[in-house]
Amino acid sequence: MKKIFAMALMILTALMTGCGGEESAGNGRLSVMLQSNIVSLDSAQATDSASFEVIADCIDGLMQLDADGKAIPALAQNYDVSEDGKTYTFHLREAKWANGDEVTAEDFIFAWRRHCVESSKYAYIMGSTVACIKNADAVIRKEIDAENLGVYAIDSKTLVVELDAPVSFFPSLMCFPAFYPINENFYNSLEKNTYGTSPETFLSNGAFKLADYVPGAANIQLVRNDSYWDAARVELSNLQYQVVSSSDNALTAFKNKTLNLAVINGNQVVNVKNDAELSKNLQTIPTGLLNYLSFNQDYKNNHGGALANANLRLAISNAIDRESLVDNYVMNGSQATYTAIPLRFAPNAKTGEYFAADQKQFSDVVSFDVEKARGFLEKAKSELGLENFSLELIYANDSGDTVVKVAQAIKSQVEENLPGVTLNLQPMPKAEYLDRVTTNSYDIAITNWAPDYDDPMTFFTLWTTEGSEIAEHWSNADYDKIISDCTTGDLAAQYDERWSAMYDAERILLENAVIAPLYTNAIANLISSNVSGIEFHSVAIERAYKSAKVQ
């Protein structure tokens, strides 16, 4: 018996040792919140912005985003563009991988070829709708060998990229992790499928190194990489990511100083604003994420194709009070949006003005106007010979209650403003939601899209005949022509003409109410007052910590 008690005492003392209330903040240690697990540190597997953020902490690409979101050189010291805009020559700077190897042009070639062959979601970014790298489409379709991809090394520090068409935003595209290098020898020394699954199987050349990580980890630890070429700029010694799925928990952890950066929801924003202390920490950051209604026009959809009628879609789009949605239901600083392109995104290279700066541009077809909406509805009723419409509105309800509130608000607004239209709410888990969309079994979906690169085309290509096969099932030859002219056709090289042609495409899109834009997302962050220098971007890498400081 004495032994048992002795053991109990021993274990209790063992448990108590090392228990300290020391704060994790301070000493160059930054702890930030992630809302969900990252998918993968392998850029060919990653599908989410959180993964891209962590990859970008650890690996530099040819270019990087500066504080204002402009592309500036990273591993490329500088670059030359040929006159026709189809050949880029990048001159690499002296930089090392964390294992001491030089970063060479071959590392890029290896990564890009691999990406074309192995990536499922983001392979397209190399192809003719985005980067237009020579032969990329054929390599992605596995018709020719990856060696034929239009990217070459003149010497170990000079990388040449050949494009099929001039791509005005090509340098900014180089900030996207799909274009980051991977050390070929290191990769080949690993067991199959293990790249990026632990600190030992992931090699960094960037500001931070991976210190602790397993796939699906709730806690990711990064430490400063002293061999980083720009190490002088990096002040943080530790960067820690903590996955917190409940925002109540996040708020408490922020108050507790466990987190230096927490993301809170709309209801909490209201409370925080009333709190004299906490309101000083509140920073609302606009993003490039557009929330919109996707109308399924296929005749096979649940309502027998009534949504193929443009007037019915226009009626719904104009019956929604977007300002009320963001003010009363989203409440986190998100902004009502009346264009197919989100608000603070894709600035014009010459004027610096955001593409969607003029929100009144399409107010004849996207607005909140009950009279007009009812007019559209009357036309739809006579064209279809129907008096009542009962439509299904599907949405994923497992990522917080904002979308639930938005769906309920849309239902009540539409039903009140459009007599005869009923929306049946169908919440479901995200996996099922995605399945319903891809298998064409929905009427209307609340969906969203975040830009992959800093050009409106990242949205416009969603609704070409090919792109909308996945969701809206809409096809318009004029629209398709403008998009192809702007990507690989005559307009690709003419900046201003391309820019105005894209507005024409947007008009076709919105006159047909292919989608009903709702709002551009903002993220309400609580940031400790001793933290500065975190850079927020609306494209590709949402948060960057290279210049972050903790006082």
Partner: protein, 313 residues
């Protein structure tokens, strides 16, 4: 004896097979898509399905899966979600869950024994009632509710322990989850200890020992506890597996990279990760069945009547 063990072994294998079969079918008919990528074209999904053999009849898929399992691999051995290999990651997560599970079992058993003994010694008095209430509460309160309570008071109000699990400070991070998990073990062990002790204390040989002049700690230790402990050990064994697998919610809210969280993420993440859900289901079942098998065999050795009963039945 050999025959008895062989029979138990075959039964266990059959049970495991049945579990795998049911799990396999259930997962395949679950709504949703294992490829949770937005705007993935029907063509791409079809190609993925072909790659993984998901286009074949479900029974053929099951046969394929079983043959791969016999070869020591869970399906194609990688997560459908991020392509990472399953086994090393699952082992790492098992290790984390196991460490916390062991801590909570140790803590739970100790506290449970103390409460049970106290209650038995003060049978019918105030302390007995108090201990009974504590052990009933322990069964009633879900461990994660207790966890949230601890997190609020001992990390937020009084910053004693880390607010989230921090692998670099394992022990101090493990205290709160281990304590919450041990709640169930405490109550189970306490109730069993009390009942067994009361029974033993009423037995003739203890009365004889008392008559011979033994009293106090010596009597409890030598005669009561030793005899009462045997049935208690048999309740603890299955508790171990319960703790390994039952920590799902706690691991999720406290951010522990354990198998429970792995399971929750595989089911309720962006897509249903067929390979992970199956692999974890199989491992959990195998652990449980394995422990039960060992217990059955031990019972058979300890008490021949069980063997005979099994033969008659």
């Amino acid at each position: 004896m050999t025959k008895y063990i062989a029979k138990r072994l075959i039964m266990s294998l059959l049970t495991l097979f049945a579990i795998i079969f049911v799990l396999f079918i259930l997962i395949r008919i679950m709504p949703g898509n294992p490829f949770p990528v937005e705007r993935m074209s029907a063509e791409m999904i079809l190609q993925k399905r072909l790659e993984l053999g998901l286009d074949k009849p479900i029974l053929v898929q099951f046969a394929d899966y079983m043959s791969m399992l016999m070869g020591g691999s869970f399906g194609n051995g990688t997560s459908l979600y991020n392509g990472a290999p399953i086994k090393p990651i699952m082992l790492k997560c098992l290790e984390n869950s196991f460490k916390i599970g062991v801590l909570s079992i140790l803590f739970g058993t100790l506290v449970g024994l103390i409460i049970g003994i106290t209650a038995a010694l003060h049978r019918g008095k105030f302390l007995d009632g108090l201990c009974t209430i504590v052990s009933i509460l322990g069964v009633c309160i879900p461990s994660y509710v207790f966890m949230i309570f601890l997190q609020y008071f001992f990390s937020y109000k009084i910053p004693l322990f880390p607010y989230f699990f921090d692998p670099s400070r394992f022990l101090s991070s493990a205290v709160m989850p281990a304590m919450s998990l041990s709640l169930f073990a405490i109550s189970t062990v306490a109730r069993f200890t009390r009942n067994e002790m009361v029974e033993v204390m009423n037995s003739d040989y203890v009365k004889l020992a008392e008559a011979k002049g033994l009293y106090g700690l010596q009597l409890i230790r030598r005669h009561v506890l030793r005899n009462a402990l045997i049935p208690i050990v048999t309740v603890i064994a299955p508790l171990v597996v319960d703790l390994l697998t039952g920590a799902m919610v706690i691991e999720k809210i406290y951010g522990i990279n354990g198998v429970g969280k792995l399971m929750v993420d595989a089911i309720a993440g962006q897509g249903v990760d067929y390979n992970y859900v199956l692999a974890l289901g199989i491992v959990f079942s195998a652990l449980y069945i394995g422990i039960m098998l060992v217990l059955d065999i031990l019972y058979g050795i300890i008490d021949p009547r069980i063997r005979l009963a099994a033969k008659d039945g």
